[in-house]
């Protein structure tokens, strides 16, 4: 993605503001995995993992890792009081059953209808689907965190996706290094612009029309 740690953390910090007390949340790998570090200590959230954990805590101290207690990415985690373990079939039953309030995923492209492409670049990278399709289709709110443009400087927020879709009409909110964009019924709505960018620069870097409806700048 080529974004520095500061920018990745700024995106994660903005995404954390979408999470409210009592929510059940699943975080994808990459920038989404940083979101839990930015939550207010006043709120209690149940983090869900596809392999079969509800109630994940943060990373263990070095030397305290338990190889049998890992997140869906295979990295050690801890649990919080009230946590439970279950099999992966149940973990996905929770997802498809509509029990997840928010999923925060990475993205390659998002279209103005809310279509998401994030699983394959034909001829280049074929990692597989994992649990992304189920999360994108079934979580109550889908937030995509990504760089605003690709490494060639081309927009990733488009009228139509060019890459194979993960799921149609699923994305609610996009948070990038340049802006916060809502997927409305009639296309994209620009809600916030990140410093040091201007509205004009965001518009220029976006491959679809933006309705501008700003409510102050949350990147502070």
């Amino acid at each position: 993605m080529g974004m520095g740690v500061d920018i990745r953390n700024r995106i994660a910090s903005r995404a954390a503001k979408e999470i409210k007390d009592g929510m059940i949340v699943n975080l994808g790998i990459g920038i989404p995995s940083l979101v839990s570090n930015h939550l207010s200590p006043d709120i209690r959230v149940m983090f869900h993992a596809e392999n079969g954990i509800l109630g994940m805590g943060g990373s263990p101290e070095k030397g305290e890792e338990d190889a049998m207690l890992c997140n869906a990415g295979g990295f050690p985690v801890t649990i919080l009081p009230g946590a439970s373990y279950f099999d992966s079939s149940t973990a996905f039953g929770m997802i498809r059953g509509g029990y997840l309030d928010i999923t925060i995923l990475g993205g390659l492209e998002v279209s103005e209808k809310g279509d998401l492409a994030n699983w394959v670049i034909p001829g280049k990278r074929v990692p597989g689907i994992g649990g992304g399709m189920e999360l994108a289709e079934k979580a109550k709110k889908v937030i995509v965190l990504m760089s605003h443009v690709n490494k060639n400087g081309e927009p990733k927020i488009l009228k139509e996706c060019t890459l194979p879709l993960t799921a149609k009409n699923c994305v609610d909110l996009i948070i990038t290094d340049m802006a916060v964009i809502e997927v409305g019924g009639d296309g994209f709505i620009l809600r916030e612009v990140m410093e040091p960018y201007t509205v004009e620069e965001v518009v220029k870097s976006t491959g679809a029309p933006l309705t501008i409806r700003m409510e102050g700048n949350a990147f502070d």
């Binding site: 890992c70 869906a72 295979g74 985690v77 099999d87 597989g128 399709m133």
Partner: protein, 225 residues
């Protein structure tokens, strides 16, 4: 009656070209002693069914990266670049399935169902070649059940009837995989007498397990170590 068996005996069921299903997620919950035994025995052309391709030197990844499998039905191979390379070179056929749907297809295979109806992947590459049905005016894909000649799982504790208890997130796909093998082999960290496990705490009833082998523990270095 005890189902505890030697590694040599259980490996006799795992032969060239057999359909081998494995429990585990990102290497965690893959049975290390059985995997090493399969490698040492020299079995080849396996058809593997499981959540992911592990890491190159972790878990089921060791079988994939040493080219012992000809086909892999899975959800994700991103953590094992060798699997991707073999796929591109045409040495490994890979069939991708959404993660929770793979688990449900395995569950269906073990539970005697003719398949499941799923709306995951409608309108994506996943629907290719799949039958569609309308239920209550809503469209679903027919996802077929999966069974295996041999299923291998990892457990924290087994009694000698094959009742199993798992270890935290290493439970993952193991309970469904245990149900879907014509022969199911459980590798357990600890084996106890019948009656020593609390029936309320048993996750996999022993009816699903044919053989139990003593685990020698994980001998690989984890990705985070």
């Amino acid at each position: 009656m005890t189902k505890v068996a030697s590694l040599e005996k259980v490996l006799s069921y795992i032969t060239d070209e057999c359909v081998l299903m494995y429990g585990g997620f990102g290497g965690v919950g893959n049975p290390p002693t059985l995997i090493n035994g399969i490698l040492e025995k020299g079995v080849k052309d396996l058809i593997l069914i499981g959540n992911d391709a592990g890491f190159p030197e972790i878990g089921i990844g060791k079988i994939v990266s040493r080219e012992r499998a000809k086909k892999l039905i899975t959800t994700h191979i991103g953590s094992n670049p060798i699997a991707g390379k073999l796929m591109v070179e045409g040495k490994l056929e890979v069939e991708f399935c959404p993660q929770g749907i793979l688990a449900e297809r395995i569950r269906a295979g073990g539970a005697g169902l003719g398949g499941i109806l799923s709306d995951i992947g409608l309108g994506s590459m996943i629907e290719k070649g799949k039958q569609k049905v309308l239920v209550g005016g809503k469209e679903f894909l027919v996802e077929t059940p999966l069974q295996a000649d041999v299923a291998i799982v990892h457990a924290k504790k087994a009694d000698n009837y094959g009742n199993l208890i798992y270890d935290k997130s290493a439970r993952n796909t193991n309970p469904v995989v245990a149900t879907a093998g014509k022969i199911t082999i459980a590798e357990a960290e600890e084996i106890v007498e019948v009656g020593e496990l609390d029936p309320e705490s048993i996750i996999t009833p022993g009816i699903y397990v044919d053989f139990i082998v003593q685990s020698k523990g994980v001998d690989w270095k984890w990705a985070w170590e």
